[in-house]
Symmetry: C2
Subunit: 326 residues, 2 copies
DNA sequence: TTCAGATTTGCAAACGCTTACATTTTTCTT
DNA sequence: AAGAAAAATGTAAGCGTTTGCAAATCTGAA
């Protein structure tokens, strides 16, 4: 920058202004400085800029897993949109481990980020402390509930479970099950399971089977199907906490010669691309993946531009996508 | 830090040393400083640290897409492993757009990262300039070829295509096709297509059908299957540039009443989880997803620890996973 | 006990920008 | 044309660390 200033015959302050707040510099100088820094291939040092300025153009995002299609989709949206506004994403994953989340949040906070975005509403004590102390907007996404730390953008997982139960009851289904991946660690999956159970019980007085699955992968779906049938041979319908589990169960049912939806109904969750292509096509509950990413970016950008913008707490809702398996 | 220094009754220099190079401080002071900074909840400002030190503990990784399972898997590995060594990942995606890649590389370089990791071997002129000028290790991953910019860790996509062709020929398959996603933009898919075509032609003197697909998603696989059959009704075997396309084709074949592998053989690429669960299970070519991530991290960490470590250019190879569709 | 050498600590100068404030130049009003 | 107000530019003080070098302290041999 010093170099550019010298060549352009101005002070570094003017160069800085020409580059960051062009309006504050006379058109003549501005063009000269732009031309020179172009010619010299000058690239500002973001680190120095961040240290001098109040905060860095970094945005920390923490998700449970990068390989989970839901979060991958949200991150996809966010990198693209934030990048366009000149922000860089720092992405961290904790694998549903709250201690690891705490360490990542602390690490991210020490970069003076412009915003911190975490997944879910349950955090370790230290995470809460760090987030509350952070001098930037904090968004808890993918979940809706009362009193977010700062802003919350997501939907009610409980409502998603309720929706599944209500739909089963409407269809006259009596012997049902909910299969959820890692219910012990994944709060959101657990909330769906509980919404399902409570609603089904409330509506019918009957007890649905609630079964955990070891992972959210296809293979577990097939295995879970077998376990459900072993426990309840007369099962009529199963709701899964993820489309991949549901598809795995469909493959397994195919192998077992069990016809879907004839002998068994299957309901997914996620509305992944694959749900549109299976035979038969998978009926599923669609969380607002993309909408969450968009809403988070829009809100954060707004907060950053107009600092007195109030926090929000949005429930983006879920939708039942009727296809052929229920 | 000043605060900690005052409370512990030492200078900030000593605090810095106690925290970063504990061996350079007497045990007595070290424990006192650690205790105080613990008590005060001191978190060092990474930005200031990076400005003062030679470079930042940031590692830039650029992939074509976050939602592509291959790269998601590699990133998964890398975030976890680098995080454990105190590095943060900055992740960028360019959607196979070289201009966008250029902008991202430039943006990342301005953070004085400890390493820069890009996908593939073809880059815009400006990207090459930035990467060559970067004062840090540069790794080009997911592809193997001669003369990487600095280090290269991947495998030969051409060899993957050759493997597919050779296997088809060994099986006595004559009327074959290769369906590739976005062959115009994805160099790696194109290299596989060319390896397939050249080898098949060389071995049999026959011309395989090479067809582009609009995307790498399931639906396109089904659509491509129909197009292949329209062009060549007697088709015996199709190699796909991705497992998802292959699975989409299997679903479509199912709908068409076409038996696999009886009437049509299908070969995938990727060895995604789903390949193990379809009916019949998908024969596929496995690129070394995980191995790439691990090798990149190992190499970069080595380079960072011992700066005079030489660059590498590794070919990790591909493997044919025999299952039931060919 | 003394003193050289090793170890520990402190001082102060970067690191490369941003920005409040002061100064200079330009523009406008009368 | 003079003076006030507005706009443009420069000066310099940070931002919170790290680190080379000097000073102080400690260690052990003579």
């Amino acid at each position: 920058m010093e170099e550019v200033a010298k060549v352009a015959g101005v002070s570094v302050a003017t160069v800085s202004r020409a580059l960051r707040t062009p309006d504050a510099v006379s058109p003549k100088l501005r063009t000269r400085i732009e031309e020179v820094s172009q010619r010299l291939g000058y690239a500002p040092n973001r680190i120095a800029g961040s240290l001098a300025g109040a905060r860095s153009p970094l945005i920390g995002v923490i998700v449970p897993s990068l390989t989970n299609s839901f979060f991958a989709g949200t991150l996809d949206q966010m990198t693209t949109l934030f990048e366009a506004s000149g922000y860089q994403l720092m992405i961290g994953q904790h694998g549903y481990d709250t201690d690891r989340e705490e360490r990542i949040v602390a690490a991210f906070a020490s970069w003076n980020p412009s915003a911190l975005i975490v997944t879910g509403r349950r955090h370790a004590r230290g995470t809460l402390a760090t987030l509350s102390a952070a001098a930037c907007p904090v968004v808890e996404m993918w979940d809706h509930g009362e009193r977010p730390l700062d802003s919350g953008i997501g939907f009610s997982n409980r409502a998603a479970g309720e929706l599944a139960a209500r739909y089963f009851v409407e269809q006259g289904l009596i012997r049902t099950a909910f299969v959820g991946a890692t219910l012990d660690k994944d709060d959101r999956a657990r909330a769906r399971a509980e919404g399902f159970k409570d609603t089904f019980r409330g509506l019918t007085g009957l007890e649905p089977l609630i079964l955990p699955a070891g992972s959210r992968e296809l293979g577990e779906g097939g295995a879970a199907l077998k376990r459900v049938i072993a426990r309840q041979p007369e099962i009529q319908a199963i709701a899964f906490s993820g489309d991949m589990l549901a598809v795995g169960a469909m493959f397994e049912a195919d192998r077992m010669g069990l016809s879907i939806p004839g002998e068994l109904k299957i309901l997914g969750y996620g509305d992944l691309e694959i749900a549109r292509h299976t035979n038969p096509r998978l009926t599923t509950i669609r969380p607002p993946h993309k909408e969450i990413g968009e809403a988070v970016v829009r809100h954060v950008l707004e907060r950053l531009k107009t600092p007195d913008t109030p926090s929000v707490n949005l429930d983006l809702g879920v939708k039942l996508i009727l296809r052929e398996t229920v």
